[in-house]
Amino acid sequence: MPAWLVLALLHACSTTPEESASPGGLLEGSWVDQIVKDPGSLAGRITEHREGWTALHRNDWRGALASGGDPAARAHEELSRFYRVLASLDAEAWSRSGARWQRRGDLPAGSLLPWLVGASLLDAGRDEEASVWPAGPPPAPELEARKRVHDAARAGAESAARLGELGWSAASEAGADGTREFADPWLLRSFAHVESRAAEAQAPLERELFSGVLRTPIDLVARGADAVTDAEACREHVRRLDADLDGWRTSAGLAAAVEGRQLLEELRLVEGVRARLLTDLGVAALRAERPTCALAYGQMALDYESPRATGVVNSPTLFAVVASGQLQTGRTREALDAIEVLRADWPEVAGLDETLSTLVVLEGMDRSGDSRE
């Protein structure tokens, strides 16, 4: 063994608890730390509903729902949050669509669009913005019928399955040059209500396993002076977190038994907790109206080796955060890249996809394109 390595190891053994608490301190005592130090404890924690825990580990929430128990309860919580992020994104897409039509000055007379913009904003609690758009009862019978289903679902009288049966298209109208088909402005928020209700009814006992929860809560960093510096501040935050996680990984890797190290690597525990933590921060940044920061957390959380799929690192909520950050920073076209990942597995996202894609077209109506080899 090289002399420098012996010295380094001796130094590591002689450090005080205070010193070792700095690098790798975030994961000390966390569920990851417990599993790596005591690999047998994982089996105990997932004895019941093993398949559900396995599904939760790979962010397969529908798989976790099927198993029942704590994994299902946790999946309801995840789904509730996922739909809330998507519903906010959907409302923002409607808001931007309405504003863009208004700016163009050729909002079609008699179109359903203004009412739908107002309905979406009202549903999102953006009452002041909604007040400039038409309100009142749904202007088309199909919208009225659909709204009744939503109201029932939110009151607990209809299921998520029934919402799924509604499909994305809420109404259509004849345009000057074809048909305009509008997405359902309530759908994603209704799903959020249904999942939230289910989560409240079934609180999980095991809240930490396969989560981003650490012993010390991690807050957002202070806001930067402007959008660009805010993104930089959040990127720097991730770099500091990474330094901490790297430190823990190194020390835990040296200290752990073979089984612990195997679990650490094969289950990608650090990558998983890191992505969940950054996704949590991304959601918090969106709530704090810091989209460039949310985008920074989201993009740094992504598993770049399989960026078009959900898995242990990439959760559906992560893609929703990235899409939200993209839209709110003017990158509507790039938001579609993240939504496209969700579209295959989440048919209820199709309406959002259509609303966003129409917005992309609308934003580019007066532009001339550029292309290169």
Binding site: R104, G105, D106, P108, G175, A176, D177, G178, T179, R180, E181, A227, V228, T229, A231, E232, R235, R239, D242, A243, D246, Q299, M300, Y304, E305, S306, P307, R308, T329, G330, R331, T332, R333, E334, L336, D337, I339, E340, S357, T358, L359, V360, V361, L362, G364, M365, D366, R367, S368, G369, D370, S371, R372, E373
Partner: protein, 500 residues
Amino acid sequence: MRALTPLLLLLPLAAQAGNLRYAEDLAPAIVHPLYGSSMAEARANELAFEGLYTDDVELATTPALALSTELAADKLSAVVTLRSDVAWHDGQAFTAADVVFTIKALQDRATASTESGRVAWIKEAVALDNTHVKLTFVRPEGRPEDKLYFKILPQHAFGALPLKRTDAFRTHPVGTGPWALSQFNEDNSITFSKWKSWRNPVGIDQITLREVADKNYQAKLVLYESLEALVRVLPRDLAILKNNRKVDLYPYQTNSWWYLGYNNKRPALANPAVRRALSELVDVDSLLAPVGTGARITGPFVPSSPYYNHDVPMLAPDADDAETALTAAGYAQEGDHWTQGGKPVVLKAVAHQALESVQEVAINLQSQLESAGIKLEVQFLDDAAWKQRVWHDRDYDLMLSQWTFDRNEDISEQFHSTGTRNFVGYSNPAVDALLDKARDATDPFARKAALREVHKLVAADQPMLFLWTLDSYAAMAVKVRNVVVHPFYFFTFAPQWSMK
């Protein structure tokens, strides 16, 4: 020294304070906005030149060389007010005459600019005085400033129109951008220096474009701190860069797709059934596997595009169907190869040598077609030969290439029969009509529907085998701060970047 050896490339070179070095697979031989065709050229132009308008960090149109635009009530003309505080890199003042000159140069057919389509909507440009230009339009324009992004040239640097690709300007460009091209270096790198008279603060003193033809070394150069930026990371290098704490990754250039183009003007390939049969002899998944992660495509858009038609089925390898179609088209199978008129079928394919992983793809394709009985002769062309053979002479049967689009995803130049970049010679009146309809549409729903129909028709015609879109990321050393990457031009917001 035209090409650096790999060993030399790996030597960690000390970065100058404020010098950002980035890699391109192929350095532009010229820096001239009217003749740029590659992304490398577009990025270089973004450093040295400006348009009247540009994108702000939220990708909204914002004035650059212009101050404002006043649209006439009938929307058939507008007066653009220009900045009066702009100097060209040679010190001369920027004026309205430069704007008029640029528009006329672009519109002059003899200039033969591939960018001419960007001013096709302007009927006339007149300088009212040094800071005002009146533009008259072909048809009413709602927001002309959204189209005034094309780069402006200095009239004083040229003689009379038309401009030529060979003008001295190509290697001595003069722009108004935040960096001036200071030198084409012997190692094929290009140095851009901060233009001290630029109107806003510029955080980085110097930007150096380094040509690193062997893409396998680009990531290593970043890791060895001999580069600060890679505009596109090879998929196989993503993991190593992601795990390096001195580097950040940024999604970049996602509207890009590969294709195998058929020369539709060649009699043998004029028949869509024959083109489709050839496509059915190719196993695209196995071509893609060694290149990287990405998604297959069925037409001229990426799957996340508003215009992608998800109802168009993926073309799967089908040797039986191909055999039936080729036989019906007059081909015969003799032994292990196909013949036409008693002669073995031999196709000549070309590929740009700078296209990453192109050799792996081409050799794999060659092997697949030869297994199916079709001989493929492949040539890898340098930039000049590519432009001559593909752009000018159309001297090829098959071409392997890619297209990258900005967020407008306007494919007219590639698929309209009059398109300036329709290098495969594709022509379908129904597609032309739909592309015109999409261009003229005032309703986004109508444009979306028209272009989804274009996707369907083009996929059926198979003017090219649509291959894939790759996952694409840029890498940037963390010492470069306040980075916001423009999704197409990359450097648009670089003046705000700084070096730690």
